[in-house]
């Protein structure tokens, strides 16, 4: 006997984790809990990437989403005061409409997507680091540069947006 049954089991667990986490993020009232569960979702997603044989992407996933984005969002949560009563958290007016729309879009896509890609499983390649790096720095060099510029712009923009210029600092600058 072999370990073939492992992969589907792991996949099942991971997908349950992903979807449950996602739903929890949407439904939970406590935003810190939502943030933490989002991190959990990301971790499960990383697990899926590993299942798909994209270890590098998985590592980036954890590094960026869990390590950076979740923490940033926790910062946001902690710096902003929010009302905890469930009624206040949801749009009252547009919720049913939204539910209808989303369902209308989601159901066919999920069904079609699921049914149309049955059969041949994705080949689980080995570590994809060299291939990834090669194509990033050859075919996609220009988008890569653009992305770096975008990051820089975002960094500067975030700093400019969130800096509060305290008066005596400004006065100092004026005096200098």
């Amino acid at each position: 006997m072999t370990f073939d049954f492992i992969e589907p089991v792991v996949f099942a667990l991971l997908s349950i984790g992903v979807i449950a986490g996602g739903v929890a993020v949407v439904m939970l009232n406590r935003i810190t809990a939502a943030a933490l569960l989002m991190a959990f979702t990301f971790l499960c997603m990383a697990g899926m990437f590993v299942l798909l044989g994209a270890e590098t992407i998985a590592a980036f996933q954890v590094l960026i989403y869990v390590g950076a984005i979740t923490v940033l969002i926790l910062y946001g949560v902690m710096f902003t005061k929010f009302s905890d009563s469930p009624r206040a958290l949801f749009f009252q007016k547009q919720t049913p409409l939204a539910a209808i729309f989303v369902a209308a879009v989601a159901v066919p896509i999920v069904v079609v997507g699921t049914l149309s890609f049955t059969g041949a499983p994705p080949r689980a390649g080995g570590g994809d680091l060299p291939a990834l790096a090669t194509s990033v720095f050859t075919d996609f060099a220009f988008p890569f540069e653009i992305a770096s510029v975008l990051l820089l712009a975002a960094m500067v923009g975030a700093i400019v947006l969130t800096r509060r210029d305290d008066p005596d600092e400004a006065a100092m600058r004026r005096r200098r």
Binding site: P8, V18, A54, F82, A98
Partner: protein, 103 residues
Amino acid sequence: MTVPLGAYIAVSAVLFFTGCAGVLVRRNAVVILMCVELMLNAANLALVAFSRKYGSIDERGSVFVVFVFVIAAAEVAVGLGIILSAYRNRPVVDVDEIHQMKG
């Protein structure tokens, strides 16, 4: 026996629309940001799965995932910046109370 591609796609789609619903129904800006992240992540899963199945050896789908990471990071940074500066002007994070731009 291994997992078919369709399963991955199904998971990705479900997560995507969960996040979509979250963006639509939640009021707290931070939560909306989180839901957007979920949607991006779902897209990543689809990209990686497809690149695994169809992509040639050079991992183009994964390359796009890397770019999505970049976008996500930038988006969170700027989004939180906007939320915080808005919060500083008026201490609310509910997006439907920030409607000064109403026509």
